[in-house]
Amino acid sequence: MNKDFIGESLDRVDGRLKVTGAAKYSGEYKPAGLTYGVLVPATITSGILNAIDTKAALRASGVIAVITPFNAPKVPGYQPDAPRPMKGLKLFNDNKIHFNGQPVALVIADTFERATHAASLIKCKYERQSFATNFHENMETNSKPAGEQHKEYVRGEANAYKSAPFIVEESYTLPSEMHNPMELHVTTAIWDGDDKVTLYTKSQGVISSQRAIATAFNLEQKNVQINSHFVGGAFGSSLRTWPHEIAAVQAARMVKRPVRVTLTREQMFLLVGYRPLTVQKIGIGATADGKLVGITHESFSQTATYEDFTERSVNVSRFLYASPNANTRYKIVPLNVGVPAPMRGPGEATGAYALESALDELSYKLNIDPIELRLKNYADVNPETNLPWSSKYLKECYQQGAARIGWDKRAQKPGTNRDGEWLVGYGMGGGAFGAYRGKTQARIILSADGTVVIKSATSDIGPGTATAMVVIAADRLGLSADKITFELGNSALPVAPTQGGSSTVSSVGSAVNDVCVALKQKLYNLSGKPENSTDPIDYTNVLQQHNLPSLELTTESDVNPDAKKYAMYSFSAHFVQVYVHPVTGVVKIKKVVAVVDGGKIINMKTASSQMIGGAVGGIGMAMTEEAVIDDRYGKYINSNFADYHVPVNADIPQIEAIFIDKPDPVLNPLGTKGIGEISLIGVAPAVANAVYNATGRRIREMPITPDKILKG
């Protein structure tokens, strides 16, 4: 017993299933009588759908039905008199068009191909209305988002930076970035009678999906079953239940057969959120010796006309550095586009891009090493709340990252370090992301053969959740990992929070910890050993002694009440070395070092994979990703994988992931803080800062493409 599994490197428990194709994703369930729904996009960007001609589609072979705003049965949850009216786009509920590509119909046929063909036969009559999709032209017609959390913030004096002797006042632009998980969004809906429905859907939260579908169709929650056993990436795009999922359920009810709706890649740009185009204005001022005087951070970001979405992008400027003065402001710019959604490192990734770029600019003005500047303004307590950090090892992140990247080879004067024709640069960027924990239940079943099954209704969108849970259980129970199975992705399991905000190991891991501890306790009690005995016991023997075929326990774990007294964050520092070709404008990222204070690390292998994945996402943000709209038509012009560039292997260098790996004493019994989001935060500014260090060219509009390097 007392095998210390925590922090070792266990292979993914479902790795074999995934690489052999045995893992079944939501689009791979084929219930008897399955039909296929294909959405028909509006070809205008704003206006009214006056009429829709479905005759040709209905005559096409294999077509079963066409749902339009003119024949769709009402979705109860969409109605204003619903007990909890749903927010967001309400497909087929009315005939208003808010953005180009908004679905106007759903064609259901016996095959996907036939439904796709029939969808092309639909003819619409529209009344066109004026629209706006150009962010920059409409930035001034912004509004302040509602909600306490988005209120203006002032600490000390507003705009105090202006009085400082050294000032950076700049604006930083991030284009809209699509989540673009490999797996398309897909939902299969199967009704059982009139009041029960089962979904196989791409979901980050089976319980929240269950609630949403129950609300939409006015069902008892227990009569909705959500399955999301495997998810091929989501990055935040499956945090909520989207209108096409509700449409699949609606269609299945209408045709009285199971319906599967799969979005196309093009529709993935329209219907499942994205990181919104954001312009951030930063003012930052310091004294000659590098003490910050004030930070002003203002963010303008794109949202839909039919729903507000605000990222907490400016928050990071309130607490990352010990500035006596700080003020922040959010503005949103409603446009005729789909609504954005949180995307990996939501808010902080955007905010840290601006803040960490501005700080880098300041360091050159002051002629102080960027790390030293950060150390001079190191926040020993959270300056926003004055609460102590539950744990913070950001200094160690700086030190280890600098050592591993070879920071001592960095030239303080930009454009002076060469290797042959190439200009060499080093850059770094730091970040923080809140450490969270939510109330979670877990059930454990110990069988007579000594195997253990643990269940909780969490999801695994890729980080290796089940693997981490098996590690925790193996450690707590003193069993080998192959004796333990973890079940997730089904709403019938004990209630767990949505997988988001890097909180799964903290929340679900704590529940697994607690249920294991409770089981062990019970087994010790049954064995007659004293309460706190450390003598090993044989679990199967205990069951045998008591004639028990199995032992089952369910516990609920909640947040630590002391947590309120602390500021709880994960921290990171990313270091990047780039080579820039001064003639061709080509940027090669040569090395990335990611150092993270994410508390205790449960499984080194999958945690490192998280860090690598996040760094790749950050490289995409810095170097390649940009969704482009042609504002004359209000339509994305690069909504496919050939033209929207996610980084490929050739763009990615060696990425070294380093963990501080010190337990947080407050957040949860495991000592973890979370790593999924922090892995991306700070990467983009580190790249941009390295490019500046190499070339002396400051690029304040991502992505950094060769033309921007060469621009005079």
């Binding site: 061709t584 404008g585 042609d630 038509y633 012009i637 490929v648 992505p703 033309d707």
Partner: protein, 328 residues
């Protein structure tokens, strides 16, 4: 996608006969055609699959390298004869698409691939190439990837191929078969500028088939380089590319071939630059002068202004590498 008929061709003559029927198209690797069919850009009634025809061979005969149309892009790029005699072609192929695509793509399919202009691909937007007289969406639209040479009022699209840029530089000949038998066409005359008929990419008749290509032997093998500048390091079309082949002896350029990709509706051969290089010693000032000359007549649009400078720099850099002044 419209219902269509699919047949496997039994012979070249069979393909030619089948093509006589309107609405019939050849399918080779399918990596471009199938995408276009899925997007509704093209809707053939009948596909003739030619992949079983004996047109895959790569052979060297009397001063020429012959490559059958069905030789896969990956096979050609790895072929030892190609690597030895025409390394420029190998480099250009490896710079194109992805390994998976190259494993399917054929010589003829690559030559016949259509532009990647977003307005061409989106059937709800205007495009004279897809729908004659519907207008050009790109001219005042998002034209970052578009042409700076040889554009017309009707079309500013580029031909997206890398392979073709190398073939244009290498004085390749295309072997074509049709009703009246075989004919040969200089590669540089195969593709055309958009002019008033942007719907036509090249001079291949609707009922003709490409059988293969022939590249004459040359002395360029030691001084060839294909430089491709793109928004990501693989699996992206060229912003601009440059194919350079130099015959250098005793420190003097005896003969030169230069072509650019990503800048026009066809591979853009730089004849004047080739003449100006001949007889000179490689040097950066010379290459700068060549690049300046090469950009004469370039015309940019709202989003591709950068291409003029980038293309000029790319010419300089590719010449530097090909002539051995700097490593790749």
């Amino acid at each position: 996608m419209k219902q269509f008929e699919y047949v496997k061709a039994g012979s070249t003559q069979g393909v030619i006969n089948a093509l006589a029927q309107p609405g019939t198209k050849i399918i080779a690797g399918g990596t471009n055609l199938v995408d276009l069919m899925k997007r509704g850009v093209t809707a053939p009634d009948k596909l003739v699959d030619i992949t079983h025809l004996p047109l895959k061979d790569i052979t060297a005969t009397s001063g020429r390298l012959h490559i059958g149309t069905l030789a896969l892009n990956s096979i050609v790029s790895e072929n030892s004869l190609v690597q030895k005699k025409q390394p420029l072609l190998s480099m250009a192929l490896k710079a194109g698409a992805s390994p998976q695509l190259r494993n399917m793509a054929t010589v003829g399919g690559n030559m016949m691939q259509r532009t990647r202009c977003g307005y061409f691909y989106d059937t709800t937007l205007p495009c004279n190439k897809r729908q004659p007289e519907s207008g050009c969406g790109a001219k005042e639209g998002y034209n970052r990837m578009h042409a700076i040479f040889g554009t017309s009022e009707k079309c500013i699209a580029v031909h997206p191929s890398d392979m073709c840029v190398a073939l244009a530089a290498l004085d390749t000949t295309v072997i074509i078969a049709g009703k009246k038998g075989e004919r040969k066409l200089a590669f540089t005359d195969f593709h055309k500028l958009p002019g008033d008929t942007p719907e036509l990419d090249n001079h291949l008749a609707k009922d003709e088939i490409i059988l293969g290509i022939e590249i004459p032997d040359n002395n360029f093998a030691d001084h060839s380089y294909y430089l491709k500048i793109r928004d990501r390091q693989s699996y992206a079309f060229a912003l601009v590319s440059v194919a350079v082949a130099l015959d250098i002896s005793n420190g003097v350029i005896r003969s030169a071939r230069l072509a650019m990709g990503g800048v026009a509706h066809k591979p853009w051969r730089l004849y004047d630059a080739e003449k100006a290089l001949a007889g000179k010693q490689p040097s950066v000032p010379l290459f700068e002068q060549i690049a300046r000359g090469a950009m004469q007549g370039a015309k940019a649009y709202q989003h591709n202004e950068f291409k003029i400078n980038l293309a000029s720099n790319a010419v300089i850099q590719a010449l530097k590498v090909a002539s051995g002044l700097v490593p790749a």
